[in-house]
């Protein structure tokens, strides 16, 4: 590896991790005071306040990482993504969720597997934001919580592959998001992300500079997918859209 390449790897790790830790510590200290302030003067819903904090944290992440990723986004202007909706995106890296600071709204509920809930410094925020632990909850419980969220104007975000890709290729999609879309009649918004597998793939513990691109595709409405196979057809359709766009973006 040329010297310049090694230099940038050292630089990104000596910059991003300390800043991320610092931002996290400041966030943990400031959040209770900010929460009281929002409660007293904003009269806002507790869950929405915490989701707003997470969104601001995502914005902080974008500011830290942007110089090393040349982040480019498309389809995230206010109004381009209908709300409520169900966002599904391909999954390449631990940091994919951090990049969701690009979304133009903050009332987002992440549906995740159990392991992210084990990080003690994030867990209180994830619980307070009522994120869904899909490994612990039954489908009926996930569905009920999702319907409540969507009916109240929120956005549900899922990784239909469930796992981060180990080889950059997209894994099989699970049906849950598409069943929820058809049952609730809210659209799916496919999101495509590339480059985070170069930044930090599963199994590597240090960052490498990478070109990260994120694109929101046009919403897919459930009315076109009818019959008992509807969610299966919708799943295949959305996966094909994401796969071809990811291919173009790479």
């Amino acid at each position: 590896m040329p010297f310049a390449g090694k230099f940038f790897i050292v630089l990104i790790n000596l910059t991003v991790f300390p800043l991320l830790i610092l931002m996290t510590i400041i966030g943990i200290i400031v959040a209770p005071f900010a929460f009281i302030f929002f409660k007293l003067f904003g009269n806002l819903d507790t869950v929405k306040i915490i989701r707003y904090f997470v969104w601001i944290y995502g914005k902080g992440w974008l500011a830290i990482i942007k110089p090393f990723t040349g982040l480019t986004t498309s389809g995230f202007k206010r109004g381009e993504i209908p709300t409520p909706c169900i966002i599904v995106l391909n999954h390449l890296s631990f940091f994919d969720t951090f990049f969701m600071g690009v979304l133009p709204f903050s009332n987002v509920c992440f549906a995740l597997r159990s392991w992210p809930f084990k990080m003690a410094w994030y867990r209180p925020f994830m619980r307070a934001a009522q994120y869904l632990d899909v490994e612990r909850l039954s489908y009926d419980e996930t569905f009920t919580a999702s319907r409540n969220l969507l009916d109240n104007g929120g956005v549900l975000l899922l990784f239909p592959e469930a796992h981060r890709s180990r080889d950059g290729r997209m894994g099989r999609f699970y049906s849950g998001a598409f069943k929820i879309s058809i049952a609730t009649n809210y659209p799916i918004v496919p999101l495509c992300i590339t480059g985070t597998d170069e930044l930090l793939p599963p199994g590597r513990w240090y960052l490498k500079p990478a070109k990260v691109k994120i694109k929101a595709l046009s919403p897919v409405y459930p009315d076109a997918f009818t019959g008992e196979n509807g969610h299966i057809e919708m799943r295949k359709h959305v996966k094909a859209l994401i796969a071809s766009e990811v291919e173009r973006m790479r």
């Binding site: 039954s138 489908y139 894994g171 099989r172 999609f173 699970y174 049906s175 849950g176 069943k179 008992e228 196979n229 969610h231 299966i232």
Partner: protein, 86 residues
């Protein structure tokens, strides 16, 4: 349809619908642990099998007992034999 043809039809349908790895399709493969299906996939699997074999599956208890790919093979073979005998 012979038993081998039934098994091939099941395996092909599941590989196609659930994007499974062909190399993992052996009778001992556990549906959750090895093929990484989930409870929703089990519901979809009934639809896939009904479409592939043009019969209705109403035996909920038999479906609940299914754990491996071999269990699915045996279930469909048994069901096909019952239909053939009338």
């Amino acid at each position: 349809m012979t038993n081998d043809e039934i098994i091939d039809t099941i395996n092909s349908a599941l590989v196609k619908e659930f994007e499974l790895d062909k190399d993992k399709m052996h009778p001992g493969a556990h549906l959750f642990d090895n093929l990484e299906l989930d409870s929703l996939d089990m519901v979809d699997m009934v639809i896939v099998l009904e479409n592939a074999f043009k019969f209705k599956i109403t035996e909920e208890k038999d479906i609940r007992d299914i754990r491996t790919l071999g269990d699915i093979h045996n279930f469909v073979i048994k069901k096909s034999n019952e239909i053939r005998k009338g």
